[in-house]
Amino acid sequence: MNVAIVKYNAGNILSVTYALERLGVSAVVTDNVELLQKADRIIFPGVGEASTAMTYLKERNLDTVIKSLEQPVLGICLGMQLLCSYSEENNTTCLSVFDESVVSFLPNGTDKIPQVGWNTISEYGSPLFNGLAPDAYCYFVHGYYAALGPDTIATTHYILPYSAALQKNNFYGVQFHPEKSAAVGEKILQNFLDIK
């Protein structure tokens, strides 16, 4: 299987590469349009800030390229948020693959922001979660979240219920880090590779 990881100015790409290697898949990290378009699977990872990332993608025309991809695409964390319509993080217009918007957690006096750590995902609505026990724990690090919407395929509760994962057509997105979520994360990545 030919897997491409979108290369851009966001961190955490090495961890995704290694997680795929542990599944026996050697991925190419690239911003080459041709390599991206002919890959069997695309992973759009990311740890970083939305507006800086969008600027970088636009400068290289990667925004148009990503939106027009036809094979299964998995956005991770910031990657998922960039696939949404809009992010409150520095008032950023995103790729609008998903209809949902990304907004900031608001302090409730008890829960810390950003959310850092392991939280459960529920209400699975996609083959991405095949074989997982209910309420599986995944590793999250984020201060912004995608609201619940028509594309929501899993939910998490932190301060309020929000989208742990989204799907529209061939585009998938997860707010958590499957590459850091132990066996559960490995299963989700494998399920993504196995999508028909």
Binding site: V47, E49, P114
Partner: protein
């Protein structure tokens, strides 16, 4: 619900774990990668690798180690020990570390914390604070592995690093570290309640009940220990089962 985290800390010197470890199932307990993988498989939530090497080769050794760990371990890990510049952090993050712990360098140059947060995001910047309660009852910040006293209170410094953009605080009580008599509940709770970022409690965990206390009375978001795990005085899975039974949100 967000789980309370259990974190194992491994001390590293010249690329090897230094504190004695007692594992029958591990081929080479001095190999941080193998030991880390053992803990990950046992269900630990995170790992901290603290480098105590004091050589010029340090940065490269540590970066190489981060890369080896990232290749094998499927949970988040933090690297710390002598991290003093943006370049130090960049190299470690590029080599696969999820978070970086800064301690003395942050105190000596607080702008480093905001610069790191701006450059890499708060989520990967852990400020480690070593603190000691003096005879006057007040908790003060100590530097350089606890050898240098300061006149700054722990609470004031914790609030400042949170303001500067730290993503988490790793709080070690020198009075409790190594005693196995329980975590420093008062200062942990005071810090945790005075900042809006997660606090990792360190030092003093000796029984399962101590971990329960630090989450309930200490208001900690995570608890870190080293020797009790290394010497199998407490096994990770047993500890997590115990805490789950006590009604705490725990990933099993």
């Amino acid at each position: 619900m967000l789980a309370k985290r259990i974190i194992a800390c491994l001390d590293i010197k010249n690329g090897r774990t230094v504190k004695g470890v007692n594992f029958e199932n591990i081929r080479d307990a001095g190999d941080p990668v193998e030991l880390g993988a053992f803990y990950a498989a046992a269900g630990i939530d995170e790992l901290v690798f603290l480098d105590i090497t004091a050589t010029n080769e340090k940065r490269k050794t540590l970066a190489d180690l981060a890369k080896k760990i990232a290749a094998v371990i499927n949970i988040p890990f933090t690297v710390g020990g002598g991290v003093a510049s943006i370049e130090d952090v960049r190299v470690l993050l590029q080599n696969g570390a999820d978070k970086i712990a800064v301690n003395s360098a942050a105190f000596k140059n607080p702008e480093l914390v905001s610069a790191l947060a701006k450059e890499f995001g708060s989520q990967c910047i852990v400020v480690a604070i070593d603190t000691k309660q003096e005879a006057d009852g007040e908790w003060y910040v100590y530097l350089n592995g606890g050898t240098v006293a300061t006149k700054t209170t722990c609470l004031a410094w914790a609030q400042e690093v949170a303001k500067l953009g730290a993503g988490e605080i790793l709080l070690t009580s020198m009075n409790h570290d190594g005693t196995k008599a329980g975590f420093a509940l008062d200062i942990t709770s005071a810090v945790s309640k005075s900042v809006a970022i997660p606090v990792i409690a360190s030092g003093g965990g000796g029984t399962m009940a101590h971990f329960e206390d630090v989450f309930t009375k200490g208001a900690a978001d995570a608890a870190l220990a080293a020797s009790i795990f290394h010497f199998k005085e407490i096994e990770v899975h047993a500890l997590k089962s115990y805490l789950l039974d006590k009604g705490l949100p725990i990933r099993l």
